[in-house]
């Protein structure tokens, strides 16, 4: 395994050398998560930007994490220009010097003149990253199987009244938060409780109650598939993936918004990008009020600018389907929402990952 | 009842692999106890199939094979008690010579002391006492051959089958082994069925030889009869060297036929196969029975001949000439003073005794 990995890395370095020389100056490589999400970005950002600047966009998919960025930066051969990352990864990439700093002054103000810094969700614009969307980990069930479906996060952990397999992401993130919420911890107190050893024990103890009923998923495309195959009766998932299964494929899935764990996706520029100026222009363009609102008509992720909310229309292929209520940030959905605390995770992910892995394996 | 039956009997045996053609056609063959019988024939003639049916590795499509009076069609090979020597010896490479020889005794659950004694005796028989601890790969081809022989005999079977056992050896070793096998056969008195495509091997060792062709036994006889009095053109051609002339039968009388060779004249020959008047026949004359003289001698059959080529072979001279339209007519002329007069291009007469020319079937 190790050998294979290092070999892959070595050959990747060789390959990227070859590829880099072929890339033209007027082409930007934008890397995102694939599927419906990338499609929404292509429609809302890439196409209009290409129209405006004449520069082309090469779209690549990845599975998250900053391992590949780290490999590129450390090999001194950066082929990615803009990468869509989670908040914790954005902060980490910045801290480890893997991302270029971005001056917020390049961001356009809102149409009503509100400065960009106060238009974006508070604290979301960081040294190296500009946010685009709010996404959320929720759980969903198949309403054709469960007519009297679960309503709260406690129901997810209630195998007596809601028997059957559950899908969960193979990671402690969001799972620990949901477990505590189901155990009666208020959304605002989650990380405070998790910061004590007893709190972590409490979260794992709650997870223990359903451990035998869980099928673990890793890629975002898996949970809708598990639901559709009848492998699980309910599963945690990214809200956009479930929305797309419902809107585009008419799946009878219902989202339970109770104790949703929301997070941001942001754009970063890997350190040493050869198209930094172009990348900055792309990010400034893509995160303006209109573009963020446009994206929301392709996928149910909330725009990171407050000024975009009123401009959000209906689903691009179904004018009758208003996108507003589908957003994690819609008032009805947001009541018990938990904001992912990236600092807590930065401090504790090593220990939590190890403990989670050990808990899983034993 | 059993006494009156031969030791091995093939009774109307047929064999087909594909259900479309017969590899062995209606084989009837009796082998007496203590005999050394060779199945001789070109490859694809069915001889090996016959052997494998006897060993039990092939099943007869039709007919019975009887061993000691009992049909063995339904007896699996390991209960037939037949020793076998294979083409490439089939010595077990992961066992030593001793272990190879002990194998048939071990599966018979013979006790250790007796096994050792028998293995020792078998090795002595083939003069390989010193090689007991070696692996087959450390032995030469001839040595492996001896071990294979010893292994087939060590459990004292009454019948031993040999499937071209000498095929992989060089000529000199092969001839030497032929005598050895013959001697072992004579001293042990076992019945041997031997398969080969080498006629000299068959002639050297066998009591009787069954000549196979096209799934049929062409002739079953002792070596002398087979050579001197072949029943048909195939046997005559396959055993030893042979000159053939083709002609028409003009008349028959007491064991003789008159054969017309067209413009080359006519000869008298021994009648072997019944051929109707006017029918075609193949005349067979052995090269060593042919003499070459300047004039046609009296009291012998003779035909004009022209010398084409001469090969000096020491004890005799091999002389190719043109006789009655056949340019491949061979005569073996003993090396004597007379032969000096021979030279390519020379005309003369070939002659032979009437009894040496046999009129066979035309094929």
């Amino acid at each position: 395994m190790t050998f294979k990995k290092s070999m892959t890395m070595a050959s990747a370095a060789v390959l990227s050398l070859a590829v880099a020389s072929a890339a033209s100056a007027e082409s930007l490589t934008v890397v995102s998560w694939g599927g419906a999400y990338t499609k929404s970005q292509v429609e809302a950002y890439h196409k209009p930007w290409t129209k405006k600047t004449g520069a082309s966009v090469v779209s690549e998919d990845y599975n998250g994490g900053i391992a590949e960025i780290k490999a590129q930066v450390e090999a001194g051969n950066v082929t990615w220009d803009v990468v869509d990352v989670e908040l914790s990864d954005a902060v980490r990439a910045c801290d480890e010097g893997l991302a270029e700093e971005i001056d917020p002054a390049i961001l356009p103000a809102a149409p009503d003149g509100t400065p960009a810094m106060s238009d974006f969700i508070e604290g979301s614009v960081t040294d190296c990253a500009i946010p685009s969307i709010v996404w959320s980990t929720i759980y969903a069930y198949d309403s054709s199987v469960m007519s009297n479906g679960p309503k709260t996060i406690s129901d997810f952990f209630d195998t007596a009244n809601f028997p059957g397999k559950r899908g969960m992401r193979k990671s402690p993130k969001a799972n620990l938060e949901m477990a505590l919420a189901a155990d009666g911890v208020a959304p605002g107190d989650i990380y405070e409780v998790l910061s004590t050893d007893a709190g972590v024990d409490r979260a794992f103890a709650k997870l223990d109650t359903i451990k035998d009923d869980v099928i673990w998923w890793e890629a975002g495309a898996q949970p809708p598939q598990l639901l559709a195959d009848g492998e699980v009766v309910m599963t945690t998932a990214y809200n956009g993936r479930i929305f797309n299964a419902v809107a585009s494929e008419d799946k009878p899935f219902e989202i339970v918004w109770d104790a949703q764990v929301y997070d941001l996706d942001l754009f970063i520029i890997p350190k040493g990008s050869k198209n930094k100026q172009l990348a900055l222009d792309f990010i400034a363009f893509s995160t303006d009020t209109q573009r963020l609102a446009d994206q929301a008509s392709y996928i149910s992720y909330g725009p990171a600018r407050k000024s975009s909310a009123p401009l959000v229309g209906s689903f691009h292929s179904k004018p009758s389907l208003a996108m507003g209520p589908q957003m994690p940030t819609a008032p009805d959905n947001f009541k018990t929402a938990i904001q992912n605390d990236f600092e807590w995770w930065a401090d504790n992910q090593d220990e939590m990952n190890e403990r989670f892995n050990a808990w899983l394996a034993n | 009842m059993a006494k009156s039956l031969p030791f091995v009997r093939y009774d109307n045996v047929q064999k087909s692999y594909d259900g479309e053609s017969l590899v062995v056609k209606n084989l009837n063959l009796d082998i007496e106890k203590g005999e050394f019988v060779t199945m001789l024939g070109p490859s694809g003639s069915g001889k090996t199939t016959c052997l494998m049916m006897l060993a039990g590795f092939e099943t007869a499509t039709h007919g019975d094979i009887l061993l000691d009076g009992k049909p063995i069609n339904n007896i699996p090979p390991h209960r037939r008690g037949i020793g076998m020597v294979f083409q490439n010896y089939a010595l077990f490479p992961h066992m030593t010579v001793n272990e190879n020889l002990a194998f048939p005794l071990k599966v018979r659950k013979m006790d250790k002391a007796e096994t050792e004694a028998k293995v020792k005796r078998a090795l002595e028989m083939v003069q390989m006492e010193a090689f007991g601890d070696r692996k087959p790969a450390q032995l030469s081809g001839g040595q492996q051959q001896r071990i294979a022989l010893a292994r087939a005999l060590v459990f004292e079977p009454e019948l031993v089958l040999m499937d071209e056992p000498l095929g992989a050896l060089d000529k000199q070793l092969r001839e030497h082994m032929q005598y050895e096998i013959k001697h072992i056969h004579e001293s042990l008195g076992v019945t041997v069925v031997y398969v080969t495509h080498d006629q000299s091997e068959a002639l050297t060792m066998s009591n009787r030889i069954a000549v196979f062709n096209d799934g049929v036994v062409q002739q079953l006889a002792d070596p002398v009869t087979l050579y001197e009095r072949p029943d048909n053109a195939f046997v005559a051609q396959f055993i030893g060297e042979n000159n053939t002339l083709v002609g028409k039968v003009t008349s028959t009388k007491a064991g003789k036929v008159d054969v017309d060779l067209g413009k080359h004249g006519h000869v008298e020959a021994v009648k072997v196969v019944e051929v109707a008047k006017g029918g075609q026949t193949t005349l067979s004359i052995r090269p060593e029975r042919v003499a070459f003289e300047a004039k046609a001698p009296k009291g012998k059959m003779s035909l004009p001949a022209k010398v084409l080529e001469m090969i000096y072979l020491g004890d005799h001279i091999r002389c190719r000439m043109s006789v009655a339209g056949n340019d491949e007519f061979i005569a073996k002329i003993p090396n004597s003073n007379k032969t000096i007069t021979l030279a390519p291009g020379k005309d003369g007469f070939v002659s032979w005794n009437i009894d040496d020319c046999r009129a066979l079937d035309y094929s």
Partner: protein, 414 residues
């Protein structure tokens, strides 16, 4: 021999003469393998050495925090924290902040002490304004600086050459005062996974042997046309992408999958109580056995092909039953194939990770999945390297056992 040296016609020693005449041939031979050799060294040997060195070498703290490193090395790990240690720390924090290295440093220490990330980052932000005495300044900033475990963690992180990662790989951890102690029980996982990896690999190897042996035997003994068809069937999985194959197994084995539907249809299982064939160890075993099967069949087949049917016939003619002929004569000759196939499957299985990742669920994970996790997710490459090193030791150990039991010369790959 050496006393009586044989001379060539021109008087030079024959050995020297031979070496001279062989030189050109050798040079050409070397030239022919040279490109491959260069590729192997640059793309295989060097990366491995680099990765293995990462298992014991980590300068992410010592190179960025030099003063503090010196101070920590002088500290015994037990006595109270001194002003000198604090001063060195503050000075280093200021520099790391300016050089934007603080994230790397914080992440390194965080592996030893949870919470260090935010502590280091926040402290470094205000470090410039600190005034002596620095120890008090640190404590005033955050009381965590009073925690001896933090400083012990820093001391461990400051070791450039360390056995700590290898210790972690076997569920131990380095102590600041030197030596090692068992890892926190709730975080122990690697030994369990190593044992499970070996167990799964062993079961897969045995299953492949049991399933593959008859197939290989059939292939070696059937007429060429039929055996070629079988060969194609055996090789078919090789032509299908690994992911497609694994996904196919998911479709076959999942709760609502083909196998369970059949079980329900034949009354083997109740509709409500279907078998768990996937997302657990069973799933890993089934899918891996399928994927590894060709690696067992091919060496077996190539060895069996060389075993003449005459051996078994000879054995039978000597009175051996079918079973004895097989067991005493055929089987021993097929052992080189079994050895080669088993070693190949076992070593491939021990490092497998895609299949267990996709169908393994929670108890079907193998050590490679953890290595993958540390390579791609946690970015703890040092620990990944250490785990890889331990895995390599295991593989070499099994190689050695194999050599002792079967003999490496006895192996035949084709």
């Amino acid at each position: 021999m050496s006393d009586t040296r044989i001379l060539a016609a021109d008087g030079t020693p024959l050995k020297k003469k031979l070496a001279q005449s062989m030189f050109r041939t050798k040079l050409r031979a070397f030239g022919l393998v040279c490109p491959l050799l260069a590729l192997i060294i640059s793309a295989f040997v060097l990366p491995i050495l680099f990765m293995l060195s990462a298992a014991v070498y980590d300068d992410s703290y010592s190179s960025l925090m030099p003063e503090s490193t010196t101070a920590m090395q002088e500290w015994d790990g037990e006595s109270p924290i001194t002003e000198a240690m604090a001063a060195a720390m503050v000075s280093d924090l200021i520099r790391a902040r300016e050089n934007k290295d603080i994230g790397k440093v914080a992440n390194r220490v965080n592996r030893e002490y949870s919470g260090a990330t935010s502590l280091f980052k926040s402290t470094s932000r205000s470090a410039k304004k600190f005034e002596p005495p620095y120890l008090e300044a640190l404590l005033a900033k955050d009381k965590d600086w009073n925690d001896k475990e933090l400083w012990q963690g820093i001391k461990i992180a400051s070791n450039t050459y360390t056995l700590g990662y290898i210790a972690n790989a076997i569920d131990m951890r380095a102590k600041a005062t030197g030596g090692f102690e068992p890892q926190d029980e709730l975080r122990q996982i690697h030994i369990t996974l190593f044992i499970r990896t070996i167990e799964i690999s062993f079961i897969v190897t045995v299953a492949c042997l049991l399933l593959g042996y008859p197939v290989a035997y059939l292939m070696a003994n059937l007429p060429l046309r039929t055996s070629n068809l079988l060969l194609i069937l055996v090789l078919m999985p090789f032509w299908t992408s690994l992911l497609v194959r694994t996904t196919a197994w998911i479709a076959m084995l999942q709760g609502q999958g083909v196998m369970n539907d059949l079980f329900v249809a034949f009354g083997v299982a109740n509709d409500e109580d279907r078998f768990s064939l996937i997302y657990n160890k069973t799933g890993t075993l089934i899918a891996m056995t399928h994927i590894m099967l060709p690696f067992m069949i091919m060496p077996l087949y190539s060895v069996m092909k060389t075993i003449s049917p005459a051996y078994v016939r000879a054995a039978k003619s000597m009175g051996a039953t079918n079973w004895t002929a097989f067991w005493k004569v055929y089987f021993p000759q097929s052992v080189p194939g079994i050895g080669a196939g088993s070693l190949l499957v076992f070593i491939l299985a021990i490092g497998y990770y895609i299949t267990p990742a996709l169908v393994g669920g929670q108890d079907g994970q193998m050590i490679s999945n953890i290595i993958d996790f540390h390579m791609r997710k946690s970015l703890n490459w040092n620990l990944a390297a250490a785990l890889g090193f331990v895995l390599l030791v295991f593989v070499l150990f099994f190689f050695w056992i194999y050599d002792r039991v079967v003999g490496i010369d006895n192996m035949k790959l084709g």
